[in-house]
């Protein structure tokens, strides 16, 4: 990807709202240990809010790259740091509305991974089909 900071933020919000929202809607009832919608959507919101901070950090890292690009691989492996942080905060009860130790790990893991993977795939190709200007404008949607 060739994101600008503005484009990163817009893409992040768009992807998590659209794909995150839809996938969470479908997955929640079939996740192990039956988490409720409130929990899964609070976690999704947490990923989004923290994601905005992460994007600022990624943008900073990108400045060290001559090409000012964001390699495809980075888009996938950042799932590790982001996922770990969200899980940590959820598990210790630092996320408002969720009690410590109340969220089953595998339910979190599956929901998070599926959303991340779908968003990553979509961002790296199909997104260009409906939005032809998106890739030429740093990932901006508006």
């Amino acid at each position: 990807m060739l994101p600008t900071l503005n484009g990163r933020l817009q893409t992040r919000i768009f992807m998590l709202v659209v794909f995150g929202g839809l996938i969470t809607l479908v997955l929640t009832p079939i996740l192990p240990d039956d988490p409720d919608y409130k929990t899964t959507y609070i976690i999704l919101a947490t990923v989004l809010v923290l994601g905005i901070i992460w994007e600022l950090i990624y943008h900073g890292i990108q400045q060290f790259r001559w090409e000012k690009d964001w390699p495809t691989m980075f888009g996938l492996i950042t799932a590790i740091n982001e996922g770990a942080l969200v899980w940590l905060l959820v598990d210790i009860g630092a996320v408002p509305g969720i009690d410590a130790d109340s969220v089953p790990f595998w339910a979190f893991f599956i929901d998070f991974s599926v959303i991340w993977f779908v968003v990553w795939i979509w961002t790296n190709g199909p997104m260009r089909v409906p939005f032809i200007r998106w890739r030429f404008f740093g990932g901006r949607i508006i």
Partner: protein
């Protein structure tokens, strides 16, 4: 406003399709050539038949093709577009230049996977399509891990041409193509333009045909090659065009000779073409038994982190200090960069940044991100290392002061930091890739003199963010330009596949605002993509 349904072209001898024509030669008159704005009567009075069509693109290369592709996808019928130029196929010139500069069809271009001129969406990318079609996991891994753990994926030239052919047929390109030369485009009194085409002999009743259009797009490519002055002097003084060649000329005879006789070749330049030529020389040596010694002459030797001003330690005339956040990898003489520009010029930070810059600031950033460079590719590195070890590949840093013949050979006097040294060689291959000034092109020269065209901060055609040629507006009409002749504008990277598409997108959006063609919104775009996939007409 021109009536679109009146647009029926292809030069024909049927006088009923012509506007008032008189039985004279139908050639340009002095009066026409000296006048910046033409009236319909002046053109008709010269006996030149007038053909109405809303949009013409001049060039008929990949720049014309990509622009027309966008317009077709935006719902413009073939009857409203004419492509004027000398090429049968849009990739003809490009294929010639890549072939002689050692990228024949089976070899890979220096172009991003998602940069495909036959597909405005860039999806599926060349790499994804190739990886899936052949179920080649290595390619898919390369796409995933580039540029960190693998060289950038780049498409094979042959594949790019085949796909272009498919798209050309899909959009009915041949229906729009009118062959001939265009040397004059003039503004029309009352709005729009006259584009004068000189058809091939016998193709029309008159010497010239005028296309009267609301919109004109100019994509004529490189104005021409320029030789290094000392090479040009040697060639003319000694009438020797065999031993000193430019990499963009057909020079297969050099490689053939090298296979027969052990020789020394001087390669000049540090860009992609030098890399390709070196690889050819090294392949011939390593795989086919040639005994070639290669002397690689660098003018600027890059030995580490660099930018367009050179090495970090180099003096920077007016360029300030090297910047922490703008450093490119380099070494062994080369500056390494995946593509012709830092990747983000095609859509990311650098594109956004340059879009806001004017004048000197813009020229400065062009300079900083520029400089000759080439991709780091594993195979080249391996071959060059072997050549250095075995002593058949040597580098010299300096400038050629003089060249003299010595029998069949050439003595280059090279001024280096250690003094002037003579280098005797059998052949010199110039890979410096100098481009001629835009005024070398007759059409561009005419536009500069009579069309209101101005030059941008780096001396080429001055286009706006929408690729409209600044100063050429004519009533409700507009003239656009894209490709290498517009280098230096608000968008860098114009002289690349993706750059042509960026330009085409802007041009299409601007034309849409003027009421020509439809908006390519999410629905149209998606529907059109499926049509592309299915291979059905847009």
């Amino acid at each position: 406003m021109i009536e679109p349904s009146a647009a029926s072209v292809v030069p024909s001898t049927d006088p009923s399709t012509y506007l008032p024509a008189q039985a004279i030669t139908g050639d340009l008159t002095d009066q026409l050539l000296e006048t910046d704005f033409w009236t319909d009567e002046m053109v008709a009075g010269a006996g030149i038949p007038i053909i109405d069509v809303p949009f013409v693109t001049v060039g008929s290369g990949i720049g014309s093709f990509v622009t027309v592709d966008y317009l077709r996808i935006a719902g413009v019928p073939t009857s409203q577009i004419r492509v004027l130029g000398a090429l049968d196929k849009p990739w003809q010139t490009y294929e010639y230049l890549t072939r002689v500069s050692q990228v024949p069809r089976p070899e890979r271009l220096r172009s991003d996977s998602a940069s495909r001129p036959d597909n405005i969406w860039g999806f599926p990318s060349y790499g994804f399509a190739e990886g899936v079609r052949k179920f080649n996991l290595k390619i898919l891994w390369q796409l995933f891990s580039e540029p960190i753990f693998a060289d950038y994926y780049t498409p094979k030239a042959g594949n790019a041409f085949e796909q272009l052919e498919r798209e050309k047929n899909r959009i009915g390109y041949d229906e729009m193509l009118v062959k001939g030369l265009v040397r004059v485009v003039r503004r029309r009194y009352g709005g729009g333009y006259f584009t004068i085409l000189t058809p091939p002999e016998g193709a029309s009743a008159t010497k010239r045909v005028a296309f009267r259009s609301q919109y004109v797009h100019v994509a004529v490519g490189y104005p021409g090659l320029k030789f290094l002055p000392e090479l040009q002097r040697y060639r003319t003084e000694n009438n020797d065009y065999r031993h000193i060649v430019n990499a963009y000329e057909a020079h297969e005879h050099v490689y053939e000779r090298l296979m027969q006789v052990p020789s020394t070749v001087v390669v000049r330049g540090g860009g992609i073409v030098a890399s390709r030529v070196l690889q050819r020389l090294m392949d011939d040596r390593l795989l086919h038994g040639a005994q070639t010694n290669i002397v690689h002459l660098f003018r600027t030797y890059i030995n580490g982190p660099n930018d367009g001003y050179g090495n970090e330690g180099d003096p920077r005339p007016g360029g300030g200090k090297p910047r922490m956040f703008m450093r490119r990898r380099g070494g062994d003489g080369w500056a390494y960069q995946g593509f012709n520009y830092p990747k983000s010029v095609w859509g990311g930070q650098l594109k956004a940044q340059v879009r806001k810059l004017d004048g000197e600031q813009r020229a400065e950033i062009y300079k900083r991100m520029g400089g000759t460079n080439t991709p780091w590719r594993k195979l080249w590195q391996k071959q060059m290392n072997q050549g250095r070890r075995e002593g058949w590949y040597t580098c010299v840093v300096g400038a050629v002061e003089d060249m003299q013949p010595n029998g069949e050979r050439i003595v280059n006097q090279v001024r280096t930091a250690q003094g002037t040294i003579p280098i005797e060689a059998d052949f010199v291959i110039d890979c410096t890739g100098l481009e001629a000034d835009i005024a070398e092109h007759r059409l561009l020269k005419d536009l500069l003199e009579h069309g209101g065209v101005t030059r941008n901060p780096v001396g080429r055609l001055n286009v706006d963010r929408s690729f409209e040629l600044i100063g050429t507006a004519s009533g409700a009409g507009a003239m656009y330009a894209s490709g290498s002749s517009t280098l230096g504008g608000y968008f860098p990277g114009v002289d690349t596949f993706l750059g042509l598409q960026v330009a085409a997108q802007e041009i299409q959006a601007d034309l849409r605002k003027r009421g020509f063609g439809k908006r390519i919104g999410p629905v149209r775009s998606t529907v059109q993509w499926w049509k592309w996939l299915a291979g059905s007409a847009p």
